[in-house]
């Protein structure tokens, strides 16, 4: 039950959202999500609840820093 699934919001209604998790549509609750979300946002889903909004920019930044670091290594 600890597995988290990243999903993209495809429908929003009040405290419920429909998210696309790797091609499967799931109804999830956004009741405990601290941030506002809009259609197209990515959320981390646990036990049917979105527990965090995901940040593609942060993901990009992390990868970029790592890539730069890796490029700077001598082979």
């Amino acid at each position: 039950m600890c597995l988290g699934f990243p999903g993209q919001i495809v429908e929003l209604e009040d405290i419920m959202a429909t998210v696309d998790i790797a091609g499967t549509k799931r109804e999830v609750s956004i009741m405990i999500l601290p941030d506002e979300v809009v259609l197209g946002d990515w959320v981390m889903v646990h036990a049917g609840m979105a527990i965090a909004k995901m940040d593609p920019e942060e993901a990009q930044k992390t990868l970029q820093v790592l890539q730069e670091f890796a490029d700077g290594l001598d082979d």
């Binding site: 039950m1 600890c2 597995l3 988290g4 990243p6 993209q8 790797a22 799931r26 109804e27 999830v28 609750s29 009741m31 405990i32 999500l33 601290p34 990515w42 981390m44 646990h46 036990a47 049917g48 609840m49 527990i51 965090a52 995901m54 940040d55 593609p56 942060e58 993901a59 990009q60 930044k61 992390t62 990868l63 790592l66 890539q67 890796a70 290594l73 082979d75």
Partner: protein
């Protein structure tokens, strides 16, 4: 985001990270992961085979199914025998009771057992029956808000035929116990990404004060290797800090809304961890206002019994003392098809993860 995941699986980046780890790891290191999903990811991506011998990865008590005491599991079967509808995550289906039963077996013999994705699905199930409906409320901080939300929603709607097994546990206290364990020479923790999404980074202050590193990370190979490199560096420098390498999901301050839902429904109470023992304040019990949702109270179950399974070394495995393969039953008497101990039952258990991918 989907293509982003590819980035965190990038083979070239992985091999560069591994090479750098090899270069910088001049001492000897022991790192522990305390999340079942990390245990699985490490096994699945073969991370251990990429690392030099002087870096040891050990699994800690990160699987909620594995640390739930046998008598509490038996209590669930007692409730099912009384005719309640049991609603559960799939992981619980094969967990054996001390008398050899399991939810799977009971279901095949006619018991009403439903597997759900979300605790909130219990609301719909309860509306369609007059029977008592019991949700198996297992998990750590990540799952506890969802389980608490079920109690909240049921109370608001005045639903009376729902109750929840009070299995929820919390991380800080068991981490504290590991820190004070002199047999366990750990240099750092690969911290559970999604637990931290709820608790925030402050959870690891005691780890850092105890002179160990704490890196919160995701579940892809690049994530895990990055965390190992960071921990090697911190150990080498002797300068420890909590680092959030999983900022794409985890906010440093965690999720206050999720914590307040937990606080509304539960209070912290001492509880038993299978193979580990009693830990003060490490469990979540229903507050008086929500006492009617406590399935153990509602069904007046007896919580008695012995947790010892002959020959099973789960206790040592859960505390990171030994590797699963050092248990004499591993892979012979104990396999995922016929598990002896809880660490082999749950797919997130250290024994099951090692068995599946070795």
């Amino acid at each position: 985001m989907a293509s982003m995941i590819e980035g965190f699986r990038n083979a070239e980046l992985c091999s560069k990270l591994v090479r750098q780890i090899l270069k910088e790891a001049t001492g000897s290191y022991r790192f522990m992961e305390v999340c079942g999903s990390h245990t699985m990811a490490i096994a699945r991506f073969g991370i251990k085979s990429l690392l030099p011998e002087n870096i040891e990865l050990v699994s800690g008590p990160g699987c909620p199914v594995c640390v739930t005491p046998q008598c509490e599991i038996d209590a669930l079967f007692e409730i099912a025998e009384k005719g309640a509808v049991i609603v559960t995550f799939g992981d619980m289906m094969r967990v054996p009771g001390s008398k050899g039963v399991s939810l799977q077996k009971m279901k095949s013999e006619g018991a009403d057992v439903r597997i759900v994705f979300s605790p909130l699905d219990t609301i719909k199930i309860a509306a369609e029956t007059d029977k008592e409906v019991v949700f198996v409320g297992i998990g750590f901080e990540t799952t506890a808000p969802a389980v608490a939300s079920l109690a909240l929603t049921a109370k608001k709607a005045g639903i009376k035929n729902i109750s929840i097994t009070p299995y929820s546990k919390t991380m800080p206290e068991v981490l504290g116990l590991l820190l004070s364990d002199e047999n366990l020479k750990i240099n750092g923790f690969i911290c559970p990404g999604h637990v931290t999404a709820v608790t925030g980074l402050s959870l690891y202050e005691p780890v850092v004060s105890a002179g160990m590193s704490a890196v919160v990370t995701g579940f892809e190979p690049v994530d895990i290797l990055t965390s190992i490199l960071e921990m090697v560096r911190q150990t080498n420098n002797g300068e420890f800090k909590a680092v959030n390498s999983y900022s794409r999901v985890v906010a440093d301050e965690g999720n206050a809304k999720a914590r307040s839902v937990i606080d509304e429904v539960y209070y912290k109470k001492g509880c038993w961890w299978r193979g580990i023992g009693y830990i003060e304040d490490s469990g979540l019990a229903f507050r008086d206002e929500y006492a009617e949702y406590d399935a153990f109270k509602k069904f007046d179950v007896s919580l008695q019994g012995d947790d010892e399974i002959e020959g099973c070394s789960c206790g040592e495995v859960l505390k990171g003392y030994i590797k699963p393969s050092s248990c004499s039953l591993f892979g012979t008497a104990c396999t995922p098809e016929s598990p002896v101990g809880p660490c082999m039952v749950s797919s997130e258990g250290a024994c099951a993860a090692l068995y599946k991918y070795s």
